[in-house]
């Protein structure tokens, strides 16, 4: 009997006007577009300089900034208010104001503060631009210290929050090394995260929508008056999407290799095994939603809500550790957060099952909790 139910599901999926295309195209589009769209590298920052000093030093500083790959050729304005209006007219992103007597004070060993004002309408771009500019200024001050060691001059910069340490000729140099992603490639970081989204949609939401559509069509009642057991029916709905999920995962892996040369450092077997665990978790969530929805519209909205919240909080785009504490507490029940971590650890670090035991344990917890909830919510509605 089960064989016929499965056969029917596959037939229906194959005949669906939309699904087969979605299954083929969706991962391709995701893999091609998202790693680029979600790129957090900020480039071509338009710098506006207000140089009140107009000295050798101030010009050296602005040339250094303009010369960096992150900034485009700087524009110059005489006053700060004129500079601000360039931001208002969207002609520049960030202002560097150099005070008068900048050079003179530096030569005399007096600390001077520079001002950096960045347009934070796009918060991420604004803060990244500001930190780039701060690091340019820092470099400049380091160079200065080295060359003017005899003069014991120093400069400090507001946004670099470097204390005004006069008379520290050789400062401590910090060399950062990005482990597991040495070139800090965002694509390497994004691809495992995209897999999480793909699995959630294919394994969690599609079968749930399918079940709700049978509710809407009334066909589920026709099945309910037959000896087909509810559990048989549900598995006949889930298994095809699990199979499709694995096909898409494989496609995604191939695309990651072809497009970006990204291959998981960890074992492929582990990758599939953990993906299957996550498939079960999201399937459970999908069933809970389908049990509580009467129409496709309802189900879609609820899913969209969960999907957005879960993705945005998962750490896929912004690090969880920089979220406020209460958000991190809520995140403890976000399965996507755990799976995003798992995927990144497997992909980038090559973590083994033993390293991930805590995560796996939690995922089992989610799988159990959602399945139980699905069973209970089904009982309540029958």
């Amino acid at each position: 009997m089960f064989r016929f139910l499965l056969e029917k599901e596959f037939k229906q999926i194959a005949r669906n006007r939309f699904l087969p295309k979605l299954i083929l195209v969706y991962p391709v589009v995701m893999m091609i577009l998202m790693p680029w769209a979600a790129n957090l590298d900020v480039k071509d920052i338009r710098l506006c300089v207000v140089d009140n000093d107009n000295s050798t030093y101030s010009r050296r500083l602005t040339q250094k900034a303009s010369g960096s790959e992150y900034f485009s050729e700087a524009i110059y304005r005489a006053t700060y208010s004129e500079a601000i209006s360039t931001i208002e007219r969207a002609e520049s992103d960030i202002i560097l104001e150099i005070p008068a007597d900048f050079e003179k004070d530096l030569v005399n060993g007096v600390n001077r503060e520079l001002s950096i004002s960045s347009n934070a309408v796009d918060g991420i771009r604004g803060s990244i631009a500001a930190s780039y500019l701060a690091s340019v200024v820092n470099d400049f001050s380091d160079e200065l210290m080295e060359s003017r060691i005899v003069n014991r001059g120093s400069s400090s910069v507001v946004s670099s929050s470097m204390p005004a340490s006069t008379a520290m000729p050789t400062s401590i140099e910090i060399v950062s090394l990005s482990k597991y992603n040495p070139s800090m490639d965002y694509k390497l970081f994004m691809v495992p995260g995209l897999i999480v989204i793909i699995i959630t949609i294919i394994g969690g939401f599609l079968p749930a929508l399918n079940i709700v559509s049978e509710k809407e069509a009334g066909t589920i009642e026709q099945i309910n008056v037959t000896p087909v057991r509810k559990i048989t029916f549900i598995f006949s709905k889930l298994i095809p999407y699990w199979v499709i999920g694995f096909i898409i995962l494989t496609n995604t892996l191939i695309l990651a290799k072809l497009l970006y040369g990204i291959v998981p450092v960890g074992s492929i077997f582990e990758f599939y095994l953990l993906s299957f665990l996550f498939l079960i978790v999201v399937s459970g969530l999908g069933l809970v939603i389908s049990n509580n929805s009467r129409t496709m519209q309802q189900a879609m909205f609820v899913m969209f809500f969960f999907m957005l919240v879960m993705i945005l909080m998962s750490g896929l785009f912004t690090p969880v550790s920089s979220m406020p504490l209460w958000a991190q507490v809520i995140n403890a029940i976000n399965p996507m957060k755990y799976f995003t971590e798992i995927m990144r650890m497997v992909f980038l670090k090559g973590s083994g099952l033993a390293d991930l035991s805590k995560h796996i344990f939690i995922m089992f917890g989610f799988a159990g909790a959602f399945s139980l909830w699905a069973v209970l919510s089904y009982r309540k509605n029958s």
Binding site: R15, G218, I223, T226, P227, V228, S382
Partner: protein, 310 residues
């Protein structure tokens, strides 16, 4: 319980939040009988069907199908019943043949096993075997749904408003199909809001607002009608109705197609009643009308019983 009872309903009630859909319903259907549940929309017919087909549980009361309890033995019941809901609910994206063999397979039977039972019904749509079910006409969809409900040779067949929204010719044809099915010994429980279809059943139950008004053979129901019934028709039907409603020797009057039906208490009725009624109406200035005594229909019985029930 005697063994010739197929469906037994005792004191079944069901409420949806504040609405009482079924209020202490008791009925019994004999084996091999065609039993009609007659009542308007919202009478509770579908709710009763959903309880009998084990889709929902009653709040109270007991219902058995072939001696099996709808609560306890729902699994066994699902093997021996066929259900055709009012709304077409087969898979529109599967073909005619696929639908039929799918429903056969979920009952672990083969189409060929019980094909003789459905042959009469299915032969009309068999040429369209490769067509998707969603692209069939209304009448063909109905035949396919009936075939799918019968393919496992059920002992009891539940048909929830099978003829609602079906053209008169197809309705007639459908009842002929049911007649033929009955000869196979299948108990058929059918609901309808068309009162004229009641006469085609062996026995009927008139249902209103979740209660049984009367349960008997159609003949028995009509015989239990207590009043004298008159039909009146004329030029100005509207003022006729108005005048009749103000007349105190009439029990009830209601529009019935081209006529008004007047129910008169038997004790008040005598040979001169029609003449005196005509006189009264003429005094009020109503002209050009005809009155005659008629035999009640099921619908008249329904109006009568439902008025008594309020």
């Amino acid at each position: 319980m005697s063994s010739d009872i197929s469906v037994e309903i005792k004191g079944v009630s069901k409420s949806y939040s504040v609405v009482k859909a079924l209020d202490n319903i008791s009925l019994s259907v004999k084996k091999g009988e065609m039993f009609g549940l007659i009542g308007p929309d919202g009478a509770g017919k579908s709710t009763l069907f959903r309880i009998l087909t084990t889709l929902i549980l009653p709040d109270s009361g007991v219902a058995t199908i072939e001696g099996l309890d709808v609560r306890r033995d729902y699994k066994s019941i699902r093997r021996i019943i066929g259900y055709m809901p009012g709304r077409f609910s087969l898979y529109g994206d599967l073909t005619v043949d696929e639908n039929l063999s799918f429903f056969a397979s979920v009952f672990n039977v083969k189409v060929a096993d019980n094909y003789p039972l459905i042959e009469n019904i299915f032969k009309d749509i068999a040429p369209f075997g490769n067509r998707r079910a969603s692209r069939l006409s209304g009448g063909m969809k109905q035949k396919l749904a009936l075939s799918c409900a019968l393919i496992h040779k059920p002992s009891v067949l539940f048909l929830d408003e099978p003829t609602t929204g079906v053209d008169p010719v197809s309705r007639k044809e459908f009842w002929q199909m049911l007649e033929r099915l009955k000869t196979n010994g299948i108990t058929i429980v059918v609901s309808t809001s068309y009162m004229d279809e009641a006469l085609l059943c062996d026995r009927i139950a008139l249902i209103k607002e979740g209660r049984v008004l009367s349960s008997n053979s159609p003949r028995g129901v009509i015989d239990s009608y207590q009043n004298k019934l008159l039909a009146i028709w004329g030029e100005d039907m509207h003022s006729l109705l108005k005048e009749l409603r103000s007349y105190d020797r009439i029990k009830s009057v209601y529009s019935f197609g081209q006529e008004h039906h007047i129910a008169v208490d038997k004790n008040l009725y005598n040979t001169s009643y029609i003449d005196s009624l005509a006189q009264k109406l003429q005094q009020k200035g109503v002209r050009d009308f005809n009155i005659k005594e008629i035999a009640p229909t099921i619908e008249d019985c329904y109006m009568e019983f439902s008025a008594n029930n309020d």
